[in-house]
Every structure is written in structure tokens, then in C-alpha cells.
């Protein structure tokens, strides 16, 4: 049996359903093909009672079906009713097996399909495309002939699988239908996209079920989830209903247990069920067999589409999640738009057109939105891999601006964490007064903000009349997580700049090309070694994120040699002097290193004597340290031990990721708490440190006070983006804090408190002579309550140490210590062998 229709719509999700409804409304002959026995399987499979959201909220819905945020059941009921009312023609339980053109061969349109085999070889098949109409072969044996095909099959049928040992065990599942089914289980949810967060919340919602739910996030950010979901997750974690583990990945699955790689090393936990929600990839093989080409060979790439969603096979249109657009509203709009287009309506603009048009209004030339999008995509290298559709989404979160020559784009020390792409013109980075380094069209700048959230390190000006895209931090993270080529491009540029900054020595980007081609970024677990003493190898490692300690085995004991903060490199000794590695280098916290090929680096050193000279100097300094330790090992073995042990204690207490930390020498501390009082009196009457709390080893006390982590955990999830790093390395919270408490929850050292500013105290002298007010230090709760402005509730905001930035004389805690017990140190200063000499005197 063969049906003949104008439009065949494959998949009855929001996109397909909306397309079918439009076709029905226009009176076009159509068939909506659904492989299950109900409409919209993806939403049907959402867990019961799930609240479906309608983002982005600024987008207007344009569809014959209604949609607003609400419960899964309500939405499905309404769609079912509307589909029936509008006369949508549905074929249920029909899966499309093949789509083949039955027209004439299209001259010159040959599709190459590269098939990768497991053994690494590839095979290329060539298929001659045929013109429409298309014949759709269905699983029930029916054939449908259609002039146009709308592919709206989504990606849910093809979830990303776990790739760890034991991932094929039966208690690993990729789907959660009804969270009410499970009771008294230890459940791990892998993935913090919306699906994972909603599953975790569902499982933990009813305490009577007794589930111990943990959600794992491999980074610290929740970039791919909706803000409302992240908030709900945070609230649930705060209420103790579930646990969140950030910077954690799965290492192994065994029956009854799961082994995790966390920030603090490997842990094995009890686990009865794993729900993996790590996104999904398009069912590529089937899509390719229809004649549809993908933008790249990447596993996560999307089909190549025209701005009207037409694929490389003429007459086949791809919309919805398969096109790279997972949000319901967009899908529904696309369904409407694409059917209008097929019906001959060429003037219809996408629903987000006015929003984008407003963004482009300020640019010098008058181009259409589609032309601007294509212009930006073609001219900014990191955007190249995006489809027109993704470009639209991307631009909704970004800004584009025109600058005249010499306009300042941002000033040194401005706060800001956005990334800039140069679509036209040139940017000039002022590295020193009067010395500008140009960055040319196509490249990016401001990427440091993405990595560290530091303030702008230099003033950047437009070197010519320019057009720049400013990408917000969230949009940039989304871009990197959803588009691997963009991530690689950004990583490569940041690596290149880090190397240039580190080695200086007259290097140019061109010199580094060879090294960058072989450079590889590796994530290192806490405690894992990148170099082991005695190993062979000549690669150089640059510490990009985190920190390392260097240890050497002397007389059977590991002796601590030095501490390496991010921005240092190791491995030059074996490269220059030859021979095996002379020491072991281990990560103190989860870190990232850039591995540079030793041979490539050697070639570069041969070509650049200044670099060789630089490396030799660094090597000599390290050899001095080794020799010093060796010389001390007999006469001062206990001192060396003590030094090693103390260094270990400090590293265990998070000093490894600190940039500046308050330590208290308990040989000297008399417990007067003048440090706390000074802190309170320097900062609105609130102390940001707790002297007495915290760990102690060998009379060295680490009080509860901010360490100004190299990669601040507090910064990870700040809705108003109020946490920044200042010019002296201090991590501070600015006045835009909304008091949500995320940073307090994210801080592993408990150094952030939420409080409101107390009323002003009378002056010191009136306290001394007349007893007015509470005296120095933080006023008591009682005094605060009594002296509060009546009827005014002051908001509680997050407060933490800002290293007394902007206060002349530096940190008040140290200045106010009467005995010299309080010291502030940077770990690289403190954890050096130079101190061993001092102690041994």
C-alpha cells in the first residue's frame, strides 16, 4: 500500500506535532509518523508529574498547538485534544526505516559517508542523491510518497552511554519513568543537565521513600541546566534531601558499589542504582542514509541546515532537537515555520527575529538578521562549527557591537568575565604603556575571564573600526560544552597565550604552532602523579589549573621539595640534561596540565636560544634545591621530616589550591582574638575569620578563613556573577550579591557566612571613656537587635575575606596581631625549601 502526501512528518514531538498541526490548518495533505502508540514520546517519558518549563521566556510562541509551562500530563492532554480537533493525520506504531528520493539523480550532489570501524580504519561510501519526491518505508510495511519530509525525530532515542568498566550492568539505566518506583536505595544520578537534575529531585522529593540520592557533576558549573532547575537542586541539597558532588566523574561500576573520581581522590560508595542522563547524540547513521550531511565528523555534530532548516537533501527539512535545538518553544516555532515555507510562504521570519534585529540595529551596515548571523559565524573562528540555528540561539545570549578605531573595549582591572570575538577589525591589547599587541580578526580575547574570573588584565582598544561579539560567561560555557570544535579552539588560544606569557623570551605565536599541534590537555586527579621519579620521558608539563607538589625519595621517605602553583612548568630537567626524571610531581587537587611534546619543545629551544637560557636558569634553581635537600638529609633528617610533614598537612588542608592563606603560629598565639576584632572593625563590623576553628599541625594552625583559591569554588555558581578576583589575587564578593547562599554551600572550607550589616557603632574613644557601644570587634547579636533601625530588615548577604583590598597597609588580621602569630602567605612562598634553612638555624 502506498500513500501519497504533500508533507511527511517524522516524529510527533513538539516540533513534528506543531508542523503537522500547521499542515492540517493549511489544508495540506500530510502524515505524522510516530514510532510509538502515543504522541510526543520524549515528553511522554518524562517522569510523572514533571513540571515542563517554557524557556526562553522572551521568545514568542508561534504554533497552532498551545504550550505553556505546566505539568507533563496537562501538556500532553492538551496536545492530544488539539491534534484530534485540528484533524492531524497520525500513523502510530510506525517507524521509518528508509527515506529515498525517487526523482532523477541530482547532478553533482554526491554524499560521502565516512564510517569509522572499531579497529580505527574508515570506509567512505558515496551515495548519489536523488530528487524528491521521497519514498518513506515504514516498519509496518507501508510506503509513503511525500514531496517534502520534515524530520523531527529528536535525539532521545540515542542517549550518550557511560563508558566505564561495569557500565553495562543492569542497575545502570538511562531513563527514569516513575521516581515513585524506588524505595530505600542509594541512587546516583550522573549528569547535571535538566534531565539529571529533575530525576534527582524526583527521587529525593518524598522523604518517605528513603532514597539516598547523589547527583554527580563533572565540573563545578551547571551550565547546561535551566537556572530554575539549578536553584531547586541547590535548595534540595541545602535541605539535606540529596547530595551534590561536583568535579566528580565515575571511575567504575560494580554490583552494589560505585567508584568515583572526586576532587579529593578516588572514593568507593554504596550504590544500588545509577541513572545516567548525560545527554544524547543524533541517530547519525539513519539520518546520513537519508542524504543529510552533518557539519563535522564530531560525534556531537548537528546536520548541515539552511536558514529555513532544509538539509543537504533538497526537500528534507530537519527541525527540533535533531537540528540542535532542544527547547520546546523553539521546536514548535520551527514546525510552524517550516510548513509555512514548504507551502510557499517565503517572507516568514523566525519568531526570535525581532530580538535579534534589535541586537544588530546598532551596527553600521544594514543587513538582514540572517546575513549578520552568517557574517559573524564566518568571521569569528570559534563560531564556525555552529549551524545557523545554533547561531540564532547563541546570539540571543550574546551582544554584538561596533567600535570606532581607538574606542576602549574594556579597561584594565574592570570586572568582567565575558569573551570577545573579533568579527571585523582588530583589537589592541595594551601589555605595557605604549606597547600594544594586536589581535586580529577571527580570533578571541578576554578568555582569561572564562578560566579564572580574574579582573581584566589589560586595557583593550579597537585597532581599527571593528565589530566585536561579546559572549557572556554562561553563553561561552554553553558554547564550549555543546560545541567541541569551539572548545578546542578556545583551549588552543588560551594555551598559546599561557605559553607566550610564561616563556616570554621573544616567542611569537608562529613559533608555538608546532608545539601546540602536539599539546594535549590532561586532567589529573588529586594525588595522581604526572611525573614519577626514575621514569623515562622528556615531555614538559605546564600546570594550567590546580597545583602540584614535587617530592623526592630520600632514604626510603618521600621528601617534599617544592610546591608548584598554576602557571608553572615542570619536566625541563630530563629534557635538557637527559636521563630519567629526578623527582615525582603529584597533583594536590584535581588539576589540569598541558603536556607539551618534549621533542617539539627541544626543537623550539634549539631555534630560540633565549628560551633555552631561560629553561636552564629554572633548571639550575631546581637542582640547587635538590642538592640542598640531599646535603641536609643526614645532619637534619628530623628537620627535613618535619618540613615534609608540615607541607603535607598544609596541602591536605587545601593550601594546595590557595593563593593566599592566613596561618597562625600557635607558639605565639595568645588567643586574644584581636585578629577577629580587627577584621570586623575593618569591614562593616562583621568578622570574616574564625581564629579558633580549623586544623592544627605542629602548632601551625589554619583558621577558618578564605584561602583565595586558585579556582574558587564559590565562583562556580553565582547567579548575579558577583564574585570576582581582584588585582592582588583576592577573591571578593561585590555589592550585587543577592544573598542566595550558593557560594556558602560551594565553599569546601566553610569560610563564607551570610549576614546583614550591623548598625554603626559609636567611636572608639567614646567607648573607652564613656562606655558607649559594644567596643571593638563584632557587636553581639543582642546589641545589634537593640540598636537596629526599627522596621527595616536588612538583607543578609554573603561575606568573606577580601584580603582587605583597598585598605592601605594590607590585611588587618596580620597588622593587628600583637605577637606576630598571624601571617598571610602564598603557598609558593611558604612551601619552599628556603624556609627549611630558616628553621634549621
Amino acid at each position: 500500500m502506498t500513500d501519497r502526501v504533500r508533507i511527511a512528518i517524522v516524529g510527533s514531538g513538539p516540533a513534528g506535532l506543531s508542523a503537522a498541526a500547521r499542515a492540517a490548518a493549511l489544508g495540506l495533505s500530510h502524515l505524522l509518523i510516530e514510532k510509538t502508540d502515543h504522541l510526543s514520546d520524549t515528553i511522554f517519558k518524562y517522569q510523572k508529574g514533571k513540571h515542563v518549563m517554557a524557556t526562553p521566556s522572551q521568545l514568542v510562541l508561534r504554533s497552532d498547538c498551545d504550550f505553556e509551562a505546566g505539568k507533563r500530563e496537562a501538556i500532553l492532554d492538551r496536545w492530544n485534544a488539539q491534534a484530534a480537533d485540528q484533524g492531524v493525520n497520525v500513523a502510530y506504531n510506525a517507524e521509518v526505516k528508509a527515506i529515498v528520493g525517487i526523482g532523477d539523480p541530482i547532478p553533482g550532489s554526491i554524499q560521502k559517508i565516512v564510517e569509522r570501524r572499531r579497529d580505527g580504519t574508515t570506509e567512505t561510501k558515496e551515495i548519489q542523491r536523488l530528487a524528491p519526491p521521497y519514498r518513506l518505508t515504514l516498519s509496518d510495511g507501508r510506503d509513503v510518497i511525500a514531496d517534502a519530509v520534515v524530520m523531527a525525530i529528536g535525539t532521545q532515542g540515542n542517549p550518550n552511554l557511560m563508558r566505564v568498566p561495569g557500565a553495562d550492568l543492569p542497575h545502570v539505566q538511562y531513563q527514569l519513568d516513575d521516581p515513585g518506583e524506588y524505595n530505600d536505595e542509594h541512587i546516583f544520578v550522573v549528569g547535571t543537565g535538566d534531565a539529571g537534575i529533575e530525576n534527582a529531585l524526583g527521587l529525593a522529593a518524598d522523604e518517605a521513600q528513603g532514597n539516598a540520592v547523589t547527583i554527580l557533576n563533572r565540573s563545578t558549573e551547571f551550565a547546561s541546566a535551566k537556572a530554575a532547575n539549578v536553584k531547586a537542586l541547590m535548595a534540595a541539597a541545602e535541605a539535606g534531601r540529596l547530595a551534590i558532588m561536583t568535579e566528580t566523574t565515575t571511575a567504575k561500576v560494580e554490583p552494589g558499589f560505585i567508584t568515583l573520581d572526586s576532587r579529593d581522590g578516588e572514593v568507593k560508595l554504596k550504590c544500588d542504582r545509577i541513572i545516567a542522563r548525560m545527554g544524547s547524540a543524533p541517530p547519525r547513521a539513519f539520518v546520513e542514509s537519508c542524504g543529510i550531511e552533518f557539519t563535522s565528523g564530531d560525534r556531537l555534530a548537528f546536520p548541515k541546515l539552511s536558514p529555513v532548516f532544509e538539509s543537504t537533501a533538497p526537500g528534507i527539512f530537519v527541525i527540533g532537537a535533531l537540528a540542535g535545538y532542544p527547547l520546546i518553544k523553539h521546536c514548535m516555532n520551527q514546525g510552524y515555520d517550516v510548513v509555512e515555507y514548504i507551502n510557499g510562504n517565503r517572507d516568514l521570519k523566525p519568531a526570535d527575529e525581532p530580538i535579534l534585529a534589535a541586537k544588530f540595529a546598532g551596527l553600521p551596515e544594514k543587513k538582514s538578521v540572517a546575513d549578520w548571523l552568517e557574517y559573524l559565524r564566518a568571521n569569528v573562528a570559534v563560531l564556525e562549527g555552529l549551524s545557523p540555528l545554533q547561531m540564532r540561539e547563541f546570539m540571543l545570549d550574546s551582544e554584538v557591537r561596533a567600535y570606532r578605531r581607538d574606542d576602549v573595549i574594556f579597561e584594565k582591572f574592570d570586572p568582567g568575565s565575558s569573551l570577545f570575538g573579533i568579527a571585523r577589525g582588530q583589537a589592541l591589547v595594551e601589555v605595557a604603556p605604549g606597547v600594544d599587541i594586536p589581535i586580529d580578526q577571527g580570533s578571541i580575547f578576554g578568555e582569561v575571564g572564562l578560566i579564572s574570573g580574574r579582573r581584566r588584565g589589560a586595557t583593550v582598544r579597537a585597532g581599527a573600526d571593528s565589530i566585536m561579539v561579546e559572549v557572556s560567561r554562561t553563553a561561552a560555557l554553553k558554547l564550549m560544552s555543546s560545541n567541541p570544535p569551539a572548545k578546542r579552539a578556545i583551549t588552543r588560544i588560551s594555551t598559546e597565550r599561557q605559553l607566550l606569557q610564561m616563556f616570554g623570551a621573544g616567542l611569537t605565536p608562529a613559533d608555538l604552532a608546532d608545539i601546540l599541534d602536539t599539546a594535549e590537555i590532561r586532567t589529573v586527579k588529586a594525588g595522581e602523579a604526572i611525573l614519577s621519579e626514575g621514569d623515562l620521558g622528556n615531555d614538559i608539563y605546564v600546570i594550567r589549573v590546580g597545583s602540584m607538589i614535587v617530592e623526592k625519595k630520600i632514604g626510603g621517605k618521600n621528601v617534599f621539595l617544592s610546591y608548584l602553583p598554576a602557571g608553572s612548568y615542570v619536566g625541563e630537567m630530563a629534557l635538557i640534561a637527559g636521563g630519567p626524571r629526578t623527582a615525582t610531581v603529584k597533583a594536590t587537587v584535581k588539576s589540569e596540565v598541558i603536556r607539551l611534546n618534549g621533542d617539539a619543545f627541544a626543537r623550539l629551544m634549539a631555534a630560540k636560544p633565549a628560551l633555552l637560557e631561560r629553561a636552564r636558569r629554572d633548571m639550575a634553581a631546581r637542582q640547587d634545591v635538590n642538592a640542598f635537600i640531599e646535603s641536609r638529609k643526614d645532619s637534619f633528617s628530623t628537620v627535613v621530616d618535619m618540613y615534609s610533614e608540615t607541607a603535607k598537612f598544609l596541602v591536605d588542608n587545601g593550601i594546595g589550591e590557595a593563593t593566599d592563606v592566613l596561618l597562625i603560629d600557635e607558639h605565639l598565639c595568645v588567643g586574644c582574638d584581636n585578629c577577629e576584632k580587627a577584621c570586623a572593625d575593618s569591614h562593616d563590623g562583621l568578622s570574616r575569620l574564625d581564629r579558633e576553628a580549623g586544623r592544627t599541625y605542629a602548632h601551625l594552625h589554619v583558621p577558618t578563613s578564605c584561602r583565595h583559591c586558585e579556582h574558587p569554588h564559590c565562583m562556580a555558581d553565582c547567579p548575579p556573577n558577583a564574585i570576582h578576583r581582584g588585582p592582588d589575587g583576592e577573591v571578593f564578593i561585590d555589592e550585587t550579591c543577592i544573598g542566595c547562599g550558593n557560594c556558602q554551600r560551594n565553599c569546601p572550607y566553610g569560610v563564607i557566612r551570610m549576614d546583614s550589616v550591623p548598625p554603626r557603632k559609636p567611636g572608639l574613644l567614646s567607648w573607652m571613656f564613656f562606655g558607649a557601644g559594644p567596643g571593638p570587634g563584632e557587636p553581639s547579636k543582642k546589641w545589634r537587635a537593640k540598636n537596629a533601625e526599627p522596621g527595616v530588615e536588612k538583607p543578609k548577604k554573603a561575606i568573606k575575606c577580601d584580603m582587605c583590598s583597598g585598605i592601605e597597609g594590607g590585611p588587618a588580621c596580620v597588622r593587628a596581631c600583637p605577637t606576630g602569630a598571624a601571617i598571610r602567605v602564598a603557598p609558593e612562598d611558604f612551601l619552599t625549601v628556603a624556609r627549611l634553612g630558616g628553621e634549621a638555624r
Partner: protein, 292 residues
């Protein structure tokens, strides 16, 4: 070391990061104070005042002025400590100077007297000054010796945590005492109702609490438990174990309070004596000028 992408503020290389107030800046103030003392003594020897050295000579006035200015400056430490103004000052340096210059006062003031002491307001000022200095010496001694003991004793616990621990044991004692006889329960109640830190200043400073109700309750309960073997489920044995734990925690807390008291007690002499000294000094100076 490798390239540091670190903060622009770098500490000077080789700077010893922590030395205490006594060793501050290579004993700078000890050296200055010693120099002052040596100069004072030498000038006392060399300057010939007739008929003999006394406070009323030009030399005596000079020494007296230096002494008064020093005393006023030393008193300002109390203000400096509490006024968190901006600027590059360090309270450690102030303390260091306070200690050594304060000690040099012994020499300066004694030379100022010309060793003429008597029962009058002038000698009262001198005696009060010596009292302040002696209490300060005690302070230096405890500051130098006790902090390490304080740190060892608290074993990473804060005072609040220690008090919470005692309270937690009390709650358990209260629950565990429910099945006991009236007589035995009375003993436990004795421990619960006792103020374990009562007993006044002597007890606080010595750390000895001979009338500790917890110790006495445990001793008394041993009359019942001493005879029978510990089978592990006798409520009295449980009480005994809890009392043991409470005693240990109390001992730690009392040591903590004793050390803290010793670190502070001298200030209760040092500071009031300073104000008495200022008053006596005013009287001394006014009377000297009045009778001039």
C-alpha cells in the same frame, strides 16, 4: 622556580615570615632599648651633679621628661591595639617596642630618682611603675611559654566545642540515670547541677577543683560498681564511663581556662596599675612644679 602567574605583591625574598614580637626585625627594639640604657648609665656616670644626683637637677629633669613621655607612649598601646586605622603599621612592632622600651624604663626612672626614695607621692609613682613593669614581665613570660601548651591542650577543638561536648555528655548522663535508684540518681544529679568552673579565681588559675561534683559522684558510685565485674550492660557502669568521659573533658576545659586565665590575669594588674601610675605621675609632676 618556575614562572609565577601570581599576584603583583611579592614578599621580599629571604624575609623570615614569622618571628614573634620578641624577635621582631632582628631584635631591633632590644638593641634600641639597650642603647638607651647604656647611654643613660654612661651619662649618669659622666655628668657631675652637685651635691649628688637627684630628680630636681637639670639631669634629673631630663631623665624625668624622657620617662614621662615614654610612659605616655607606652600607654597608647591600648589605643593602638583597638583602633583599626588604615596604614602600614604593625601591632607586633608596637608590642616589641612596648616590651623593650618599657623595660628600659627601669633604668631611666631609677636614674631619674638618683636613688632617693622615701614615703611620698614621688616614690609611690616609682613603685607603681615598677609594679606595672613587673606585671608586664610576667606577661612576657606567659606569652612566651603558654601559647604552645594552649594549642596542645585544645587539640583542634574550640572552646565552644568543648563546652558543647560537656553538655552532650550531660544529656547522655541524664538519660542514662533514669533507671537508677533515688540515692544513685542524686549523685548523678549532683554532677549535672554542679557548676564545674565555680570555685573562684584560685581554682581557675590553679586548674584544681577539689570540690568537683563529677569527681565526687564518680568516687561515690564506685562503691556500688567497684565490687561487681563489668558486664557491659549495667546502667551504673554506663554512668561510670560517662562520668569518666566528662571528667576528661572537664580536665581539658579547665586546663584551657587556666591557660587563658594566666594569659590574661596579669593584664588585670598591668592596666589598672598603669592608670594608678598615671594618676600618681600627675600628682608627682604637679607637686614638683608647685614646689619649684
Amino acid at each position: 622556580m618556575a614562572a609565577g602567574a601570581a599576584s603583583p605583591i611579592r614578599r621580599a625574598k629571604g624575609e623570615v615570615l614569622h618571628d614573634g614580637f620578641l624577635r621582631h626585625a632582628g631584635f631591633r627594639w632590644l638593641k634600641i632599648a639597650t642603647l638607651i640604657c647604656v647611654l643613660s648609665i654612661a651619662s649618669y656616670m659622666l655628668v657631675d651633679v652637685t651635691p649628688r644626683h637627684n630628680g630636681g637637677s637639670w639631669y634629673g629633669y631630663a631623665m624625668g621628661t624622657i620617662g614621662v613621655l615614654l610612659i605616655l607612649w607606652l600607654t597608647l598601646l591600648g589605643l593602638r591595639k583597638r583602633a583599626m586605622t588604615r596604614g602600614r603599621w604593625s601591632l607586633k612592632a608596637w608590642t616589641s617596642a612596648h616590651v623593650y622600651l618599657g623595660l628600659s624604663l627601669i633604668v631611666i626612672a631609677t636614674l631619674h630618682t638618683g636613688f632617693q626614695l622615701g614615703w611620698n607621692v614621688h616614690t609611690l609613682a616609682y613603685a607603681l611603675m615598677m609594679l606595672v613593669i613587673l606585671s608586664g614581665l610576667f606577661g612576657i613570660a606567659v606569652y612566651a611559654t603558654l601559647p604552645a601548651a594552649l594549642s596542645n591542650n585544645r587539640a583542634e577543638m574550640t572552646q565552644v566545642q568543648m563546652l558543647d561536648a560537656v553538655r552532650a555528655i550531660d544529656r547522655q548522663l541524664h538519660d542514662a540515670a533514669q533507671p537508677l535508684t533515688h540515692e544513685q540518681a542524686a549523685l548523678v544529679r549532683q554532677s549535672l547541677e554542679d557548676d564545674p568552673f565555680g570555685g573562684g579565681l584560685i581554682a581557675r588559675l590553679s586548674g584544681r577543683y577539689p570540690r568537683c561534683a563529677t569527681a565526687r559522684a564518680q568516687a561515690a558510685l564506685r562503691r556500688w560498681t567497684g565490687e561487681t565485674p563489668d558486664t557491659g550492660n549495667d546502667p551504673l557502669e554506663r554512668i561510670d564511663a560517662l562520668l569518666e568521659r566528662k571528667q576528661a573533658m572537664l580536665a581539658r576545659l579547665r586546663r584551657h581556662l587556666k591557660l587563658k586565665a594566666l594569659l590574661e590575669i596579669w593584664l588585670y594588674v598591668h592596666v589598672p596599675a598603669t592608670f594608678a601610675l598615671l594618676a600618681a605621675l600627675t600628682a608627682h609632676v604637679v607637686s614638683v612644679f608647685f614646689y619649684w
